[in-house]
């Protein structure tokens, strides 16, 4: 229908009580024209109301419903994905893995020569070359899990600061 077109010509007319009795019921009239030059009051209002066209203001406007559609669907997808992942993390993950929840962190100020952040990359670059494919896949899985664990550690660190100790973002 015309409802969802991307252009409109919107005319705003004052609602007056004319002496001859033909009452103007609506103040805003909308029609769609693809050519902005067609957007004049004469083309929009009914024939019996043409005399008030002096006081009407018509504006040709444009929008993009496709963008809106794409954006809204994207948002729905992202929110759903996040929601599902959250459910997974909250419900299934604790059951599946029995690892300690908070990683023990090295105190970097003391052990300055061992850079824990760089270690996974080093492993990544040295080990897989001389292992068979199964090894490599295993390693990949290991690496992903490692990374996920690291991320989880970071988040739980943040959570501790904010929700438990209230040291930040109050």
């Amino acid at each position: 229908s015309a409802q969802y077109e991307d252009v409109r010509c919107k005319c705003v007319c004052p609602q007056v009580l004319p002496p001859n009795g033909t009452e103007l019921s609506r103040k805003i009239m909308v029609r769609s024209f693809s050519d902005p030059q067609d957007c004049t009051c004469e083309n929009v209002v009914d024939a019996n109301l043409k005399h008030i066209c002096d006081r009407c203001e018509c504006k040709w406007q444009r929008r993009n419903t496709t963008t809106i559609k794409v954006v809204v669907i994207l948002i729905i997808c992202v929110v759903s994905l996040l929601f599902l992942y959250m459910l997974f993390l909250l419900c299934l993950d604790p059951l599946m893995s029995r690892r300690p929840k908070y990683l023990e962190h090295h105190n970097e100020e003391v052990n300055l020569d061992t850079q824990s952040v760089h270690r996974p990359e080093e492993e990544n670059s040295t080990r897989p070359r001389n292992g068979p494919i199964t090894n490599r896949v295993k390693h990949e899985v290991h690496r992903l899990r490692d990374e996920q664990q690291r991320w989880k550690g970071t988040v739980s660190e943040q959570r501790k600061h904010i929700f438990d100790r209230h040291t930040m973002l109050n």
Partner: protein, 766 residues
């Protein structure tokens, strides 16, 4: 990573000494990086960047490829801010579209095209009812549940329930997502960004997870109808974009000081897209958040802000060809006499700002220190429930705050049928101009509703700002101010209308428009309230100027904002962001505040009178063993090097990190270095050592020969100025050339707090 953010602003590095810088390449990696919750050393980072730049310039002659690399390096700043601007624009567009759509979900749905919000759903409909802005395509919840009309009691109850239920669902989802994925995404973000830009490291605060979660949860939180806005968090989102894109360009990604140039531009882009005000955004970045290089990044920030605004505009998220919902474009004049109500609005805005800051900080402090802080999710749900239940019956609180502002700042035109425009006009002639008229019953009722809405907004915002969802403060304060402004505006209009023969009002009513413009009062009120809360000045006026799009209203805006700031300052100096910085104890050395006390460096430096002496290293008598003992026994981040323990003449400064790495490396790799080896920081290593004796260890390379020093009599005014302007981390205190002590940024912050009669330990470094 330390497990506790104890905000180590204590000393570590020093302003780039050339000998350290030029040999940086051969040193082990990790130097020049900072730990989480540490302060950066601006001078050293800037010097590192210059060294890098010189290196590229030198290599440029060698080959064509190097030339391209050099050009890429020269352009990367511009390319980066272009990317950041575009990204900020896209994020803002997504958030704007998503928010309007999700907000309307509380009341109904567009059946044929579920992705359209109510306004877009009825955009091209000819049967739009103006009163409620609805049309046949838009189905409210009672209609969806099969009730014939939504005006009856049953319909009302269903609408009410669905409104509250949707709000609760959104709020729950928002707070859960924040908690599970990115706790750093909560709050406004501006205090933290101010702190980060002042040279503090908070790892992960500007990461990709924060970006995603903050964007999503901002939409959810606004849709939940909570009294908060998305304008402040947009600055955080834009800064996240800045941080992420800076990693594409090693020049910025690997240098914390340079990265802050990009972040500075990004925050300008954030405000630019939040208010459609590129110039205002740049000034905001300059006035509020930028710290070390206000002018250098001005032009680039402007470019970034403009790119962001351009991208957002091409999305046209509100379908009005403007970047904000509440853009106004009337051109009615104002008269000098109206400055009185404008200044009154400023006074009210200032008082409201002061009251809000005081009670919000109290509440946040209570949350932090009491059991309330243990139930963040429950708190959000309770606030959301209360908001939903109280807000729904009143149409002015039911609607989105941005929409409310849009309604309030609008001038009543012929097309407006809403209660606020229900004047007793008798338009029998189509050619008659739209003039002031007596109030109709609609306006009288709207005034009461607005008054109730104002009280509600003011109270609930105090409790809302600080809950654990992404929450901005701009829109709620502006809404409160706009309500007050509109009410005063309507009052003024009636006053002028009924006394239009009085010589004061004579001129105001005799032209072809209403006597006064109540919408302008709403705009001025919004500016005043925001000014009272944030204590912004120029940037706020310019943002409002860009919103109103005409120089003619700049004087009223300025009068109101200035009054609001002065009145607010009379009650308490700091704005809401500074208040939250203080509450959280972030190490932020305000560059606008003046330090006016008469203390001198000797009063502040450590060691204090009765402390053990300063831990120093001599230049040519310490053995490797001694050094290792010093490293083991102390936790200072750096050690001054002196000529000898007796004379204490300063030679240089060495970082704990460098020293530790160097000694460790030497022990491992260098033959002959044993516990007994003497460590030489000087050039003159004696050659006549005993043959077979321990090999000396030369560490001159890691010594910073140019530490910044001051004398013990230097007034703290000067010291504070040096810390601010040079971006120091520490300075050494001498007397007649002898080393007496050290002052770190932490000491300065403590001292400033102490001088303000705040307990330096409990408040500043929790």
């Amino acid at each position: 990573m330390t497990s506790l953010p104890h905000f180590n602003v204590s000393f570590s590095s020093s302003p780039g000494s050339t000998n350290l810088m030029d040999t940086l390449e051969d040193l082990p990696p990790g130097i020049g990086q900072y730990d989480d919750f540490h302060t950066i050393d601006w001078l050293r980072d800037i010097a590192r960047d210059r060294t890098r730049h010189r290196h590229i310039q030198k290599k440029r002659q060698e080959s064509c490829f190097e030339k391209v690399k050099s050009a890429h390096d020269a352009w990367s700043g511009w390319v980066c801010v272009l990317f950041v601007g575009c990204a900020a624009g896209v994020c803002a567009a997504i958030i704007d579209i998503g928010t309007t759509w999700m907000s309307d979900l509380k009341e109904g749905i567009c059946v044929d095209a579920f992705w359209l919000n109510r306004e877009q759903c009825c955009w091209a409909a000819n049967d739009t009812l103006l009163d409620q802005l609805t049309c046949s395509q838009w189905h409210s919840w009672p209609q969806l549940f099969g009730l014939p009309s939504d005006s009856g009691a049953g319909g009302y109850i269903i609408s009410y329930l669905m409104y509250v239920a949707c709000a609760l669902a959104c709020a729950t989802l928002a707070v859960m997502l924040v908690r599970v994925f990115a706790p750093y995404a909560c709050g406004s973000g501006i205090p933290e960004i101010k702190t980060i830009l002042s040279g503090f490291i908070i790892r992960g605060y500007l990461g990709k997870w924060t970006l995603i979660i903050k964007s999503v949860c901002m939409m959810l939180a606004v849709s939940a109808g909570l009294s908060l806005g998305k304008e402040g968090p947009l600055v955080h989102v834009a800064s996240c974009c800045g941080n992420i894109f800076s990693y594409l360009f090693p020049k910025y990604g690997k240098n914390e000081a340079k990265k802050r140039e990009i972040l500075s531009a990004a925050s300008a882009a954030g405000v630019s897209v939040a208010f459609g005000a590129p110039i205002g955004g740049v000034l905001f970045s300059l006035e509020e958040v930028s710290y070390y290089f206000p002018l250098k990044t001005l032009w680039r920030s402007f470019f970034c802000a403009l790119a962001a605004a351009f991208v957002l505009r091409s999305f046209n998220p509100f379908g009005n060809d403007h970047l904000v919902m509440f853009y106004i474009d009337y051109h009615n004049p104002w008269y000098l006499i109206e400055l009185i109500p404008f200044i009154l609005l400023g006074v009210l805005g200032g008082i409201w700002g002061a009251v809000f800051i005081k009670y919000n900080l109290k509440w946040c402090h209570y949350r932090k220190s009491s059991n309330l802080g243990k139930y963040p999710i429950t708190e959000v749900l309770i606030v959301c429930l209360v908001t939903g239940i109280v807000a729904y019956p009143n149409p002015y609180t039911r609607m989105n705050a941005s929409e409310l502002i849009k309604v309030l700042v609008k001038q009543c035109g012929p097309e407006d049928d809403i209660a606020l425009c229900d004047y007793q006009r008798n338009l029998t002639d189509v050619n008659e101009a739209f003039k002031s008229s007596p109030l109709g019953p609609g306006v009288v009722a709207a005034m009461w509703q607005l008054a109730l809405a104002l009280i509600f907004k003011m109270v609930i915002t105090i409790f809302t700002f600080g809950i654990k969802v992404p929450a901005g403060l701009f829109i709620p304060s502006m809404a409160a101010g706009a309500i007050a402004g509109r009410m005063i505006g309507v009052g003024m209009e009636q006053l002028a209308f009924y006394h239009q023969d009085h010589h004061i009002f004579k001129e105001m009513c005799n032209e072809g428009h209403t006597c006064v413009t109540p919408g302008l009062y709403a705009m001025v009120g919004a500016a005043a309230a925001l000014g009272g809360v944030t204590r912004m000045t120029v940037s706020l006026v310019v943002i409002m100027f860009e919103l109103t799009g005409g120089l003619q209203y700049i004087v009223p805006l300025m009068a109101a904002v200035m009054t609001a700031k002065w009145v607010g300052d009379a009650f308490g100096r700091e704005g809401i962001y500074d208040g939250h910085i203080l509450l959280n104890g972030y190490p932020f050395l305000d560059s606008k505040e003046e330090f006016t006390h008469t203390t001198i460096a000797a009063d502040v430096m450590r060691p204090r009178r009765n402390d053990p002496p300063l831990c120093v290293v001599t230049q040519d008598t310490y053995t490797v063993d001694d050094i290792e003992m010093v490293l083991r026994d102390t936790d200072h981040n750096g050690f001054p090097v002196v000529v000898s323990h007796e004379s204490q003449y300063l030679v240089g400064f060495v970082l704990r990190r460098d020293l530790s790495i160097a000694v460790g490396n030497a022990r491992k790799n260098q033959d002959g270095v044993v516990s007994n080896s003497v460590v030489y920081f000087s050039n003159h290593v004696p050659v006549n050592t005993v043959v077979g004796g321990p090999e000396p260890l030369k560490l001159r390379r890691i010594l910073d020969m140019a530490p910044i020093t001051i004398t013990d009599q230097t007034p703290m005014e000067t010291v504070v100025e040096m810390f601010r302007k040079l971006g120091l981390r520490q300075t050494l205190v001498t007397h007649n050339g002898r080393l007496l002590g050290i002052i770190t940024k932490k000491d300065v912050l403590r001292h400033v707090a102490q001088m303000k009669n705040q307990d330096p330990d409990s408040i500043l470094f929790n």
